[in-house]
């Protein structure tokens, strides 16, 4: 455990930039079939920012997010998370980084099937080794935040899409991570539900000062963010406020 903890504890609260990425490439295949999913992307995200990543399909926005979320590793380039070079970390250290500093929300919710909302939210705490009583309390608090305390014992199948996404948000927030990564969080929801989820994210950000990085292809959703990055063909082509970037 020693080196893992040392690596992660180097991550300081003081660094103004949560994410600093320089010349990130992600290349699949080689030669004639080479695909450049990311073609030299550099970006900074400051603590507390709400950033939306936009772009057409295949523009590399999801790949970028997976790399920034340490779910995937870049082919080359330098990625510093809160001042720590992520490229030097091994599998387990990356897992600890995700566990302690990142929360994930996915388009398809990704809750464990046939498992209660409460157990789903408790899962990250189980891996952290939190005792059951405390775990229940923290998970209930997180569910209360997203307004689902009364549905704590319902399984995923008994919840609507919006409710499932709220459970996923509660799960992402229960470890109180500084960075929340959301990959098309409203992609599987109708417009009304999508609006509610976005208001939820905005209010969470206001309450906790958490940094949010969100991938979306819908301009209406991207407008909730205060900064929009626009990707085309693996390159970051526009960077600015929603009104500047979105035509």
């Amino acid at each position: 455990m020693g080196p893992v903890n040392v690596g992660v504890s180097e991550i300081s609260q003081s660094s103004p930039c949560v994410v600093e990425a320089r010349d990130i490439y992600k290349i699949y295949g080689s030669g004639a079939t080479e695909v450049r999913a990311l073609d030299g992307v550099s970006l900074n995200i400051r603590a507390g920012e709400f950033v939306a990543i936009m772009g057409p399909s295949g523009s590399g926005k999801s790949t970028c997010m997976n790399i920034l979320g340490c779910l995937d590793v870049p082919s080359s380039g330098e990625y510093r998370f809160r001042g720590v070079e992520v490229g030097g970390l091994n599998r387990d250290e990356l897992a600890l980084l995700r566990r302690n500093f990142m929360g994930f929300v996915f388009q398809s919710f990704n809750l464990l099937p046939r498992t209660s909302a409460l157990s789903n939210v408790e899962l990250p705490l189980i891996y952290e080794g939190v005792r059951p009583a405390q775990r229940h309390e923290l998970a209930m608090q997180a569910l209360t935040t997203v307004g689902l305390a009364d549905r704590a014992h319902a399984t995923s199948a008994q919840l609507s899409g919006g409710q499932q996404q709220r459970v996923a948000i509660a799960r992402a927030l229960v470890t109180e991570p500084p960075l929340l990564l959301a990959d098309e969080p409203t992609g599987n929801l109708d417009t009304a539900m999508a609006g509610e989820i976005m208001k939820e994210l905005v209010s969470i950000r206001e309450q906790r000062g958490i940094t949010i990085l969100m991938v979306t292809h819908e301009p209406d959703i991207a407008r909730y963010a205060d900064r929009v990055l626009f990707f085309t063909d693996g390159k970051l082509v526009r960077d600015g406020t929603p009104s500047e970037v979105i035509p």
Partner: protein, 402 residues
């Protein structure tokens, strides 16, 4: 991650898929149950053989005419029977023994309306002590009856049950062959041994059998019992040299008789049952192995089926070793559960079979410990590969898995 939580997660996963978990476990249940039952039954058979040998008399020597080669395919050739003089010679020359002659034949016995073919042994009063088969009630042969070859007999319990139909046998006249014979005694019940009813027997004075049933003045076997434990070897040697002189076989030829002691017979039988036990145990072990492969198979399917779940767990911060432990604990829990149920089924089966076959019920903690340990070990060995496969998944690939 706390150990209890790991176990909880695995139990949840098993409970979520009850039928599949049961079918997976079934292989282990059958494997462990058959290993435990086979080895226990083998031990029970060995015990049963040992007990029966002891009940024949442990210091007993059989002296038989003919030659006997040991081992499979052993050849038995006939030779002339012994004479009563041989019996007398052994009694006089060899110290510390009891000797009983035996002229064995079988005769049609008629009692009232019942008739049956019964083994008849012509012998003396020494038979009771030598063969460890005593009178229950009635009396022994009188000297006058023995020297005259009187038509008197001592019968086993089976005859009373099957032919006297519970009537008082003492003093009754029964037909043995063509002789009317008076019952003077009844032997204690001895039970069955290796498929033979040892209570279906008639004892008569040796001379009565010689003259009235067989018509030859010889003896087909001599039973000798050493009075002191551990002297059977010496007694055997003395008898052999004595009979060699008396029977005077062709110079340089093999003995035309042989002496066999019950220890020999016990060892032969025990080694036979032990071989059988090992063989049956090995066959059963193969089924345990097949059960283990069944667990691996299901765990591999389970890993593929739950790839997305593994991806979710990795994304929210499970380390490779957390996933590895979870799947490993799951397979160990399955195989341990199978092991426990297998032990119960195996011991239950052993009890049922020994009860049905009237064999001693043996439970060996060592066999159970080995069976259980193997089932757990199978969980570890056959669970490791699928668990490793799960742990080595790339988080993003696992999450994208459909």
């Amino acid at each position: 991650m706390r150990a209890l939580d790991t176990l909880g997660m695995s139990v949840q996963a098993i409970a979520r898929n009850k039928l599949r978990s049961f079918l997976t476990t079934l292989g282990i249940i059958i494997g462990v149950a058959s290993v435990v039952a086979m080895v226990h039954l083998g031990q029970s058979a060995t015990r049963s053989v040992t007990e029966q040998i002891a009940s024949i008399g442990s210091n007993l020597l059989f002296v038989m005419p003919g030659t006997a080669q040991r081992g499979p395919g052993g050849l038995r050739t006939s030779a002339e029977n012994f004479e009563l003089g041989d019996v007398e010679a052994i009694r006089n020359e060899v110290a510390g023994i009891l000797v009983a002659p035996a002229l064995t034949t079988s005769a049609t016995v008629v009692i009232g309306n019942a008739n049956d073919t019964i083994p008849v042994i012509g012998t003396t009063n020494d038979y009771f002590a030598v063969r460890n088969h005593y009178l229950d009630y009635g009396r022994e042969f009188e000297d006058s009856e023995q020297s005259a070859g009187a038509a008197v007999c001592i019968i086993g319990k089976t005859l009373i049950e099957e032919m006297f139909l519970g009537q008082e046998p003492l003093g009754a006249n029964i037909r043995v062959g063509r002789t009317a014979c008076r019952v003077i005694g009844v032997l204690v019940e001895k039970g069955e041994s290796m498929g033979q009813d040892r209570d279906k027997i008639i004892l008569m004075p040796v001379k009565a059998v010689q003259r009235r049933l067989v018509g030859e003045l010889d003896v087909s076997a001599i039973y000798v019992s050493a009075l002191v434990d551990g002297t059977t070897g010496l007694v055997q040697a003395q008898i052999e040299s004595l009979l060699r002189q008396r029977r005077n076989p062709a110079a340089g030829g093999a003995d035309d008789f042989y002496v066999r002691d019950t220890q020999d017979i016990a060892q032969t039988l025990e080694s036979t049952t032990n071989t059988l036990t090992v063989l049956l145990g090995a066959i059963a072990a193969v089924s345990l192995l097949v059960g283990g492969i069944g667990i691996m198979n299901i765990m591999l399917v389970s890993v593929t089926e739950r790839t997305r779940e593994i991806g979710i767990r990795l994304a929210i911060g499970a380390r490779a070793r957390d996933v590895l432990t979870q799947f490993l604990v799951e397979s160990i829990a399955l195989s341990t559960l199978g092991g426990i149920i297998g032990l119960i089924v195996g011991v239950g089966g052993t009890w049922l079979v020994t009860w049905q076959l009237d064999m001693p019920f043996v439970v060996s903690p060592a066999v159970m410990a080995v069976g259980f340990t193997f089932s757990v070990a199978i969980g570890v060995i056959f669970g490791y590969f699928p668990a490793r496969k799960a742990a080595m998944l790339n988080p993003i690939d696992a999450l994208r898995h459909e």
